[in-house]
Subunit: 140 residues, 3 copies
């Protein structure tokens, strides 16, 4: 069995953003030498998501509106008890759960096995600091 | 290490539907010969989900209502910017994220290792065309 | 390839609760002897979630409120068709989908490879009976 482990560092200058990590993960799959296997891509933080969807800015705007509607930002510690810790990012923990934590991708014949429109993104819900994404590849 | 890779073709005649893929994936696990391993089942499209829940039509109706409440269909490109691309399926991309993308299942002693009510489904949010589901099995 | 398979039994005395399973899964990773691999943690029931987020009680309160807002409890079989089966737990099936089913974790150098705040939980949405969680570890 072969494996590759890599932590990707991100520093998003805004509170929220959607950033492609597609090419970097494709490159790591090649570097791993794995022909048949699985590739786990997961944020190492609890206010961020890794997801697969369309590389289309209008849709990313629509995700922003959806998540703000379902789990709106509110710094109040009355609205969100998590903010009693002194933080104001309770909404970021909620949004990340609705969007999902990690994705597991297949590797076939040495490449990510994806449909034509599947594109891999990091979704930051509480940025302006250095955070990591974990890529773990196993197979042979 | 053994592996099996299979693309299942679907063509759902309606816009939305929930379809069991349980027996087919069970069959592929046997075909793989894997005794201990993992089975990833994932749509290859970004307006569909694979999920595990109850094989009960009332519940499937309830999922429809929930997702339509949280992320309603609307063809307008004012409501959903994704529809400025000329498509009308922004809601399908949103519903799929809320429902989840893929599932990873355990294989133990040559079979899917599931609880008594766990049943595997494909959820189509924008059908009426041919689409694929990827099954990737690794183990030994 | 090495593997470890373990079913953890839970019996939550209340309808809903969030319970840490972090230490137990860490212990199983050591017991498996796997140095590089993947660890799938998944409920074997369809009214429960396994998730990773903050070990902070205020946030857990906020998840309760969020899920009750999006998919409220209602025993009526008019509101939820699933309840026509004689059950009253349709909301539990909906909440579990929004929160997610399973998590896949990386194992590196013989340990769970997690960020500093990542903590593993079981979320029960319909307790007061014995239920199981599956831990499946593969690697070498």
């Amino acid at each position: 069995m072969k494996s590759l482990t890599k932590e990707l560092w991100m520093e998003i200058p805004t509170r929220r953003a959607i950033v492609s990590i597609h090419r970097e993960v494709e490159r790591l799959v090649v570097e791993s030498g794995v022909q048949e296997g699985l590739c786990l891509v997961s944020p190492m933080h609890i206010t961020a998501s890794v997801f697969v969807n369309d590389n289309e800015s209008g849709l990313h705007h629509d995700y922003e509106l959806l998540l703000e509607k379902l789990a709106p930002f509110n710094a109040s510690s009355e609205v969100y008890h998590h903010n009693r810790t002194g933080e104001d990012n309770a909404d970021a923990h909620l949004k990340r759960q609705l969007m999902g934590r990690e994705v597991t991708l297949a590797i076939t014949a040495g490449k990510l096995h994806l449909g034509p429109w599947e594109h891999l993104f990091y979704y930051e819900f509480d940025g302006r600091r250095r955070k990591r994404i974990l890529v773990k590849i196993i197979g042979e």
